[in-house]
């Protein structure tokens, strides 16, 4: 696995529009962004209504994901090229999610929607219809998804990477600064976690930093390359961005994303919490 297997440039994307076997997928929380304009031919996934179970706090199940992708016209052997707003947060989340369900060839557009817009590349408001397929999702891959008990057991033994902003890590905030403060019962971070904000892995235009810069970033933060790693944030989307960097760009072997993240951990009864920088 190398950078070119998992990441494509905006130029590459624009050159491959409409090519059979490649499906562009925009993933946003704010679906009005897609409706106002999207990459030509791209289909839309709503991270919440499409990718979250309507009742319990979890993914849609294997059958649900199969039905979703079938309806979107995506086949198992298609190359899925993901992009989105928020510096690709939700596109990275979808990337990780597609990998949990075993999709073979998934890529991110480096810089996502932001880079595309800053380059003044064309967007289309045309409706996109693809013929339905018979998609078959795989067994969920538990090797890349962490659950709460494993996270509690990881304190002091595995690498825990908290990718939220310094103020969230310190316990001053429970949500990013542009949002109402909501979510967990308690503020702070998981003891022994290191704080490497996701934003340090990205350039201002939303593209990822170079492999050399990224390797130095996590080494300097004290991430022990010989240990397994669990990344978390508030709800698991920013940590997907970091999971993508650690596992897919830097090739670390055992990296899990904890999508329960702070909204779950900070509401658990009886677990230790640390505060301060």
């Amino acid at each position: 696995m190398s950078r070119t297997d998992v990441l494509v440039t905006a130029d590459w994307a624009q050159e491959h529009l409409g090519q059979p076997g490649i499906v562009f997928v925009e993933v946003d929380e704010d679906t009005s962004a897609y409706d106002k304009g999207h990459i030509e031919g791209a289909v839309k996934l709503d991270w919440k209504t499409d990718l979250q179970d309507a009742e319990s706090r979890d993914f849609v199940d294997r059958e649900g994901f199969s039905a979703l992708l079938s309806a979107k016209g995506i086949s198992n052997d298609d190359t899925v090229v993901l992009y989105g707003g928020n510096n690709n947060w939700f596109a990275a989340y979808a990337y990780w999610y597609f990998k949990v369900y075993g999709h073979g060839d998934v890529k991110l557009i480096d810089g996502g929607r932001k880079k595309w817009e800053l380059d003044s590349r064309p967007l289309s408001a045309d409706a996109v219809e693809r013929p339905a397929t018979s998609y078959a999702a795989g067994e969920p891959d538990a090797s890349i998804r962490a659950f709460r008990d494993e996270v509690v057991d990881a304190i002091g033994t595995k690498n825990l990477v908290d990718v939220r902003s310094p103020d969230e890590f310190a316990g001053k905030l429970t949500a990013p600064a542009h949002l109402p403060q909501e979510g967990a019962q308690r503020a702070g971070h998981i003891p022994t976690a290191v704080n490497v904000p996701w934003s340090k892995a990205a350039n201002e235009d939303g593209t990822f930093k170079s492999d050399e810069e990224l390797a130095k970033l996590y080494a300097d933060a004290g991430l022990d390359g010989t240990k397994d790693t669990i990344a978390y944030c508030r709800i698991g989307e920013r940590s997907s961005h970091t999971w993508f960097v650690l596992r897919e760009l830097l090739g670390h072997e055992n990296v899990k994303n904890y999508d329960g993240s702070w909204t779950e951990y900070g509401s658990l009864v009886g677990v230790p919490i640390a505060k301060g920088a």
Binding site: E29, D30, K114, P166, H178, K200
Partner: protein, 97 residues
Amino acid sequence: MCGAPEQGGGLAGVDLTTQTVIQGQVWHDGSPVAGAYVRLLDATDEFTAEVVTSPEGHFRFFAAPGDWTLRSLSPLGRAERSLAADIGLNETTLAIA
């Protein structure tokens, strides 16, 4: 919800006795700039949040009292401004040269 709320609009429902609101518009050549990316950096230049301006060029952050930097990116160019925010409404303008 982790994406930015829609930018612009009124402040109904926002308690300005407790919230530190930093808001304003991005301008270029006498017109507001829609679709600009505006990021909020803290006093150590650390990324804190980012929003996309409304059709009227508006942006808004919920921050805390202190020193902040606003930086906008758009195909038209960049703009940057530093400010000291207090509890309540802090309004500013980013002008792309």
